[in-house]
């Protein structure tokens, strides 16, 4: 009995030894910052020093139209981009999985390639490509598709379109992989049974394939939504700091600029970042609710 207790203690101690380095790092670089943000959020920067303002930062946030405009941009991009990308990824996955025999591996590789590039690298490439006097406008002008160069990055409307195009380019292949895995997990016998029953390909797609893919589609939609919420690299580089006229200013970029560029107001930036945590938390709950039941 005593020996058994000693052995259990030995195992328990070993367990702690294995997890300690990670837990120490977790405590220092995650838990401590989280707790210290509770202090930061009550402070306001005044020139040389900061002082206590209580909930003042949240009051200021409620009246800060620019912040809500930026958050609105996140939602606008979400609504425009996520459905477009999910549909494209679904089409590509279905065509790759069921439409062709040859070259499937190579095509899958090509579609996935954008997902391998860093956000900074593709933002720079797109910014050079889409300049008003840049290659895409020159090409379209010489082909006669357009009469005047398009302000891809200078016109508020076109800059939003540019963001949608860029995000779709970067993430469609990534989401396609999840759909491909989902398609391969569908039992082939279901299709054979449908074929025996004489169902047309269109019927099979809408009555069998699509319903079985719903969990993957939801996963992809929720993670993309959460990703769009945190957009930072693209608006900072591609549209050069959320321009033009804040048309592509996102919440994360606005928060960063409040803390590092236009002001050095960490307290206020922290207050706004709490809103982002709140929305991310709601999305996480939605994800668990939607997907947890189906497993």
């Amino acid at each position: 009995m005593n020996r058994k207790g000693a052995f259990a203690r030995y195992l328990n101690r070993s367990g702690w030894l294995f997890v300690t380095p990670a837990l120490v790092l977790f405590g220092v670089f995650m838990l401590y910052p989280i707790l210290s943000s509770l202090y930061l959020v009550t402070r306001k920067w005044r020139g040389m020093t900061d002082s206590f303002v209580g909930l003042g930062n949240f009051v200021r946030m409620a009246q800060d139209n620019q912040f809500w405009h930026a958050l609105g941009n996140n939602f606008l991009l979400m609504i425009l981009q996520v459905p477009l990308m999910v549909i494209l990824a679904l089409v590509l996955a279905v065509v790759l999985n069921q439409g062709i025999r040859r070259g499937r591996g190579l095509l899958r590789l090509m579609f996935f390639l954008p997902a391998v590039t860093s956000l900074v690298a593709y933002s720079i490439l797109f910014r050079i490509l889409l300049q008003t006097n840049g290659m895409l406008n020159n090409l379209m002008l010489s082909l006669g598709v357009i009469q005047q160069p398009i302000g891809w990055l200078n016109d508020p409307f076109w800059a939003t379109i540019t963001m949608v195009i860029a995000l779709t380019w970067r993430w469609t292949g990534y989401n396609m992989i999840f759909f491909l895995v989902g398609l391969q997990n569908i039992d082939p016998e279901i299709y054979e049974a449908a074929e025996v029953d004489g169902a047309s390909k269109i019927t099979v797609f809408f009555k069998i394939t699509l319903p079985l893919l719903v969990p993957v589609i939801l996963f992809s939609a929720v993670t993309s939504t959460s990703g769009t919420l945190q957009l930072f690299d693209e608006p900072n580089i591609l549209t050069n700091g959320g321009g033009p006229a804040n048309a592509t200013m996102t919440a994360a970029l606005y928060i960063y600029r409040q803390a590092f560029v236009t002001n050095s107001d960490f307290g206020y930036a922290t207050a706004m970042s709490y809103v982002i945590v709140l929305i991310a938390g709601i999305l996480a709950i939605v994800q668990i609710r939607l997907l947890g039941d189906r497993k």
Binding site: F18, G99, V116, T117, I128, L129, S226, T270
Partner: protein, 287 residues
Amino acid sequence: MSVVRSPFTPIRLLMWIILAIGSFVCVFPFYWMVVGSTLNPNAVIHGNLLPGNELWINLEKATKNYNLPLFFWNSLFIASITVFLGVMVNAMAAFGFEKYPSKAREWFFGILLLTLIIPQISIVLPLFKLVAGFFAPIDMLFGTSFGGLLDSSWGIIMPFLMSAFIIFFLRQNFKMFPTEIVEAARVDGSGEWRIFLQIAMPSMTASFSSAAILMFIGQWNSYLWPLMTILSDGTKTLPIAMSSMMNAYTIEYGGLMLIVTVSMIPVLAVFLGLQRQFVAGLVGSIK
């Protein structure tokens, strides 16, 4: 679903058109980038689509005007150290959580997973304050002047060594490693550390490569945190250097395109060489 070999039907034609346009759009920017690194700045902007002969001039600009080797080295150092120490720390934790079950540790694991929800922009603000005055308590106690970890590679490495996601991912994989083997080794007189290093780790190389790839790419491509903490040219990583080149008054497009190309080489090489582990790490997040 088997495809009937029909030589020409409208739906097959449509599928091939979709695939052709899709793959062209996906690959074209890469082609344009590589071609651009052989052109002079005007030709890049104008949109020449055939390779030029200024590759060596651009390489000289990239190394002399832009100090590409230093930025490359900074990125490589940060990503490699993160992978080396990070995989070790996270694998140990995953092993400890999975093979030494206890209520208290399970509770910590739960908190660990909970923090996965927190978006990066929210954690970096208080993290910046911490890192900026990292040694302040020591300095105060001992009268030293270590200051903080801003503008230092270690300030970029240390906060991202521990990754709740990597611990979760490796723990899922340790579930497949039979506990009986651990127990048998223990009966044979192996210490716990030896069981981990010489028995568990070698049998999980595939999972470790996935974790290493994820961590490497995360640091290699990292932008927001280095953007906050890097202050001088000497510590810049490739993404920071590239983005600041875009804000310069004159931009050497050819040289910049070459740097962007070079910045993609390590990740592309890892992806093309280890595709299976690459995708396994990615898909691991939904399984």
